[in-house]
């Protein structure tokens, strides 16, 4: 028996997720590391001729469900051709305010331990 896992969405999800389809080599590694099923491998539409004359892969990644993207950064970090980019970071409100007050990136100030 499989229990269906509900897709949860949130305001502003996936804002920073960017895909450069012409760089995608169609390996699909990002699909396997995404915890929310945001990405999928699809047939590449249009020509397979790249801008610099390179032949593009027959399959390409597509963003299926941007609002499910929590910007964890796993896809971008594991993309071998830098086709994906995303601005990952600490996500709790206290960290965001902490960062604003100090003019730094969001920082929960819990050091190496604890979790945000």
């Amino acid at each position: 028996m499989t229990i269906a896992i509900k897709t949860r969405r949130y305001v502003g999800n996936g804002t920073s997720l960017e895909l450069k389809a012409e760089l995608c080599v169609g390996c699909g590694d990002c699909v396997g590391v995404c915890p929310h099923g945001v990405l999928a491998l699809v047939e590449r539409e249009g020509g397979r001729e790249g801008a610099d004359g390179r032949r593009l892969s027959s399959q390409v990644i597509a963003i299926l469900d941007r609002a499910a993207c929590m910007e964890c950064g796993a896809c971008a970090l594991n993309c071998p051709s830098s086709a994906l980019s995303v601005k990952a970071g600490v996500g709790c409100a206290a960290a965001i305010i902490n960062g604003k007050l100090r003019g730094t990136a969001p920082n929960c100030d819990c050091g190496d331990s604890g979790c945000c």
Partner: protein, 366 residues
């Protein structure tokens, strides 16, 4: 007890002593979960039990309540499950004991290696977000543990959530080991291995069910102690003037305010997907005003005080709820930043106006 002691100290007694000293030094737990040692040439590798005992469960309860989380660690290094050999799979884990326990309890009957990397006692996903479950640490551990001498293959099975910190392509370049992204949950590992290291879609999806959310409530409540204390203090003040009826009036307001903090810390996670809209701030504000209104009505508070307290409760729960974005499994930093920006002034004004209104209502008593 005697049996456990025997299992713990008889095999390679000196190695055990050294090991225990190592744990003490790091403030880590080198408890009875080490069953014995596997001799491999000049090396001896600790073999760990796949069953959790009472001390493991008590430890889990303690850290779930927020006590000693920083020190709940496993010594980083290589461990054995069952009787692994040169072809056995290698799993990677964090050195937070709660994570390590969640992993080993699922591995009964299997023969494999576990490489525990130093995440400073933080779980896989959070450590990946912070970068301590990262490529550099993993590559360093592969070298320090001389993993290449232990196994003949060049493949590491990593927890999928570690992908936010470890880059598979970079790891391969730096260490020669290829990353195979395993399932999100440890309990899917036997199925994943049996299927030839293939994941089903469900194995790579993160959930956030009621049970998972309620598991977070105790620590949210413990961490809310300053707010609880402030709520109690305000409640006592709100009963003024002293004299007959003070205790009753104080108690009513204290219950409304303390209840609002608890609504934020426990009610909000529980009702997360019942509350309307995607916005955590709006969900919280609605829950807060509902609680404030209901409790004020139950205690027959005067209109001004009831309105003031409902405003404060609304802002308070909105704020606590918004902070819960740091504990969920599906909210993005972009979204949280957007919400903070939208919420900070309404919440501050709501709190201020609510407090003034409540104070005026109390002042009328004099």
């Amino acid at each position: 007890m005697k049996q456990i002691m025997a299992r713990r100290f008889v095999p390679v007694a000196k190695k055990v002593e050294e090991r225990v000293a190592g744990y003490r030094e790091l403030g880590t737990d080198g408890g009875p979960w080490i069953e014995g040692y596997l001799s491999l040439g000049s090396r001896s590798i600790p073999r760990v039990s796949t069953r959790l005992d009472r001390s493991d469960r008590l430890g889990a309860l303690r850290v779930r309540l927020g006590f000693g989380r920083d020190r709940y660690r496993v010594l980083p290094g290589l461990y054995a499950i069952g009787a692994p050999g040169r072809d056995s799979p290698v799993l990677v884990s964090a050195n937070y004991k709660l994570s390590f326990d969640a992993l080993r309890r699922e591995l009964g009957g299997l023969d494999l290696w576990i490489l525990v990397i130093d995440t400073k006692g933080v779980n896989v996903w959070c450590a990946a977000g912070k970068g301590s479950f990262g490529t550099a640490e993993l590559v360093a551990k592969i070298g320090r543990c001389r993993l290449g001498e232990i196994v003949s293959h060049r493949e590491l099975i990593l927890p999928q959530l570690g992908a936010a910190g470890v880059s598979g392509p970079e790891m391969r370049k730096a260490s020669g080991f290829r990353a195979v992204w395993g399932p999100v949950r440890a309990r899917d590992i036997p199925g994943f291995l049996a299927a030839g290291k293939k994941k089903t879609q469900a194995m790579s999806r993160v959930s956030f069910g009621l049970g998972e959310r309620l598991l977070l409530a105790p620590i949210e409540i413990v961490h809310a102690w300053p707010a609880l204390l402030a709520a109690l203090g305000l409640g006592l003040l709100a009963g003024l003037p002293f004299g007959p009826g003070w205790a009753g009036r104080s108690l009513a307001v204290a219950i409304v305010l303390v209840g609002a903090v608890l609504a934020g810390a426990a009610g909000f996670p529980a009702l997360l997907f019942v509350l309307p809209t995607r916005s955590f701030a709006i969900k919280g504000a609605l829950l807060g005003v509902a609680w404030g209104g209901l409790a004020s009505w139950v205690f027959h508070l005067p209109m001004g005080l009831a309105t003031g307290l409902s405003l404060v409760s609304s802002a308070l729960v909105a704020w606590i709820g918004l902070n819960f974005t740091g504990s969920t499994t599906f909210t993005s930093p972009s979204g949280a930043a957007k919400e903070v920006e939208r919420t900070i002034w309404p919440a501050a004004i709501g709190t201020g106006a609510g407090l003034v209104l409540a104070a005026l209502s109390i002042a009328l008593r004099f």
